[in-house]
Symmetry: C2
Subunit: 424 residues, 2 copies
């Protein structure tokens, strides 16, 4: 295997053993990006020279941190002081923020090497950029973290930041066949990330293994945490179809069932866990709340740059502006009631298994697919992990989603590794 | 009375009657600012010429919106595209954001005239700027929204934005003898406001009457709401001493008791409402969570501008970095449990009455006072309103705080007007 194909965890081992250098890793990634970028369009800005300079400096110094010498890609809605940050919008082409987002500061402190900025949909909403799915370039990679999911899937980079407000990490992870992680909301700071919806936005990231996801988590927390087992017993798993199960294609339904069977065969106790009626229109409340908040968070762009934003964004903002305060409050109350109810529900199991997305990545680059299987978990603030393994009738990836309890991110990743090992 | 002394509501009536112009209002405010600013130091940037140009344009056109011709001041942690925004820090002197914060866009759309940026403590944390209390310039105006509270108190401007993460609106409102309002968290977008603590930051504002507070709320919501009575019956009021009652000076205890007596005499049912033991160390959890989040939100500045940030901020960040993930999660769980419990508690009354601050503004400009009577309500996400009326042994103002239920901002302002009318 070439260096660019390895996981961050494997690269760390090679670096620690003196078998490679940060410079060689960056060179390998850059060469592979040069090969594939014309087809994938994952990057909006590539910082090759700066990354090589940084890599050489790391090679010349002592081991710096958990991400020493590891290339990292950054969704373009995340501020970087040394790279342009355009938030996926024509409005901000060439904008250079005066700071790094919080997550970027932690990556730099841990010795990570920023390779560049990846394509985001417009302001991380629904209007797509140019990125194609590495498994079939006629299909969407999903969104809004399109470039980050595609870059990791195409083995251009082992780790990449995204963000999720409806389904912008878990869905593209599923479509691109990589591991995607959306932490509990509030676990990691959003400072320096362009606001889309104040009470939903969540930093997330992509990798090609669960240990790599955990490595980034440790870097963001500033403390290394191992992925040892949560308990000596296999997990109790709730198979959760959700009220949207009928909207899942057979490939996604089959993926969930097959994963449940495989994990049951490995000793897990799997039982159906149905969400109560409170959750029947929980997605609708999330959507109403999101539209309301987006129209207000993007007020400046909506008013001052109306011709430079997409028609779909204008329409969504108009919808959001039409939501009354009473309906907004009702959606927020619904959100709170759901979070309270879910905290009890999840108490009976270690995690849920549920679809990551309706099925394979849809054909065409004009849209990024439906977050129907993500809105509820985002609204609940709970951690979610998409694992790749299965595929659909067109041979495209179909992920399965693991969902944990609020704040229980480490436990979910530990069970995620347990599941990943058994699904391989 | 001169124009600069009038409330926004009174100015609107004069404008509607053709008795004055936006230009005359701005001229009056600017002249008064010129008189008093050397003593108060409320402003970090004054945009006199731009405000006059805007006022003349408004005078020449049709009535634009709810804030047509009304001067508004803006705390310097809120982004403005046409004014510098330095976040109260030497790090960002001269910084010009590429956008307006969401709240600024709504003010402009409503025809408000931005007079300039007001002094914030460093990043809206505890290290003070130069602002003095208009009632006695040897005393702090409170913080972090120091300049906004002082500017409204000194009759330089009728309305001013602040923000609250611990007690940065209600405390300076109390110290400066003005009305301060901290809405329910999430009611108004934070987009374009520098993050201090992700899950606590709340936009707020100052005025010299409750109807003016409601006017700004209507402008931010984009819909006019009247302050008619919530019900024909007088309110049920919970007198809430909190676990910190012993930390209140006699002036603040007396203010709460006197207000309760006055409102009871006006027909209100007043009863003691004690918070359960769950809330005994709720302030401590808020503080732990806040320090954790601040250290992460300001990671870029902490790492890259260490010599340009204050020692108190460095120390607070170091404390925040030392908080473990488990302790952070415990604080977050405590927050959620409190919000759930409070939703039930408040159901028996229309609002609480409780101290706004420990007492009069402390002497000296080296610190901004203690948010001990604000942390709990901020952590609960609930709306809070400080009303001026009383004073302490030094003749400085002492406010009383009204607290409502989550989302019930309009009801709280309606009861607030009822109370204001009876306390006058």
């Amino acid at each position: 295997m070439q260096l660019h194909q390895l996981t961050a965890t494997a690269l760390r081992a090679k670096l620690a053993a003196g078998e490679t250098t940060a410079e060689a890793i960056v060179q390998s990634c850059l060469a592979h990006i040069a090969d594939r970028e014309d087809d994938i369009h994952a990057w909006i800005h590539l910082a090759g020279d700066a990354a090589l300079t940084k890599a050489r400096a790391l090679d010349a110094g002592p081991a710096k941190g958990l991400l020493h010498g590891i290339p990292v890609a950054v969704k373009d809605i995340i501020d970087t002081a040394d790279m342009p940050t355009a938030y996926g919008s024509a409005v901000y082409q060439g904008h250079r923020p005066p700071w790094d987002a919080s997550c970027i500061s932690f990556v730099r402190e841990a010795g990570g090497v920023l390779l560049g900025k990846t394509v985001s949909t417009e302001f991380a909403y629904f209007s797509p950029g140019a990125t194609a799915n590495p498994h079939n370039t006629a299909h969407t990679p999903g969104g809004s973290s399109s470039g980050s999911a595609a870059a990791v899937a195409a083995e251009m980079v082992p780790l990449a930041f995204g963000s999720q407000t409806a389904g912008s990490v878990i869905r593209p992870a599923s479509f691109c066949g990589v591991v995607g992680f959306k932490p509990s909301r509030g676990k990691h700071s959003l400072a320096g990330i362009k606001t889309l919806a104040d009470s939903l936005d969540t930093l997330g990231w992509f990798a090609r293994s669960v240990p790599d996801i955990a490595l980034m988590r440790s870097a963001l927390l500033g403390e290394e945490q191992d992925l040892g087992p949560v308990s000596a017993q296999p997990p109790r798993i709730g198979l959760c179809r959700t009220a949207q199960w009928g909207e899942a294609e057979q490939s996604s339904q089959q993926a969930v069932k097959a994963a449940a069977e495989t994990l049951a065969a490995a000793g897990a106790q799997v039982r159906d866990l149905d969400l109560p009626a409170l959750f029947d229109d929980y997605n609708a409340s999330q959507q109403r709340l999101m539209n309301y908040q987006v129209a207000r968070a993007l007020a400046f762009e909506r008013i001052n740059h109306r011709t430079e934003i997409s028609e779909v964004l204008r329409r969504n903002c108009d919808e959001g502006l039409a939501v009354s305060e009473a309906d907004y409050d009702a959606a927020r109350d619904h959100g709170r009631a759901g979070r309270h109810a879910f905290a009890k529900l999840i108490g009976d199991v270690d995690f849920l298994i549920t679809p990551s997305a309706p099925g394979e990545a849809p054909a065409g680059l004009h849209a990024t697919g439906d977050p129907v299987f993500n809105r509820t978990w985002t609204f609940l603030d709970v951690p979610a992990l998409s694992l790749p393994k299965y595929s659909g009738p067109k041979g495209l990836p179909v992920g399965v989603q693991l969902v944990g309890r609020f704040g229980g991110d480490l436990d979910l990743l530990r069970w995620g590794q347990w599941a990943e090992d058994r699904l391989r």
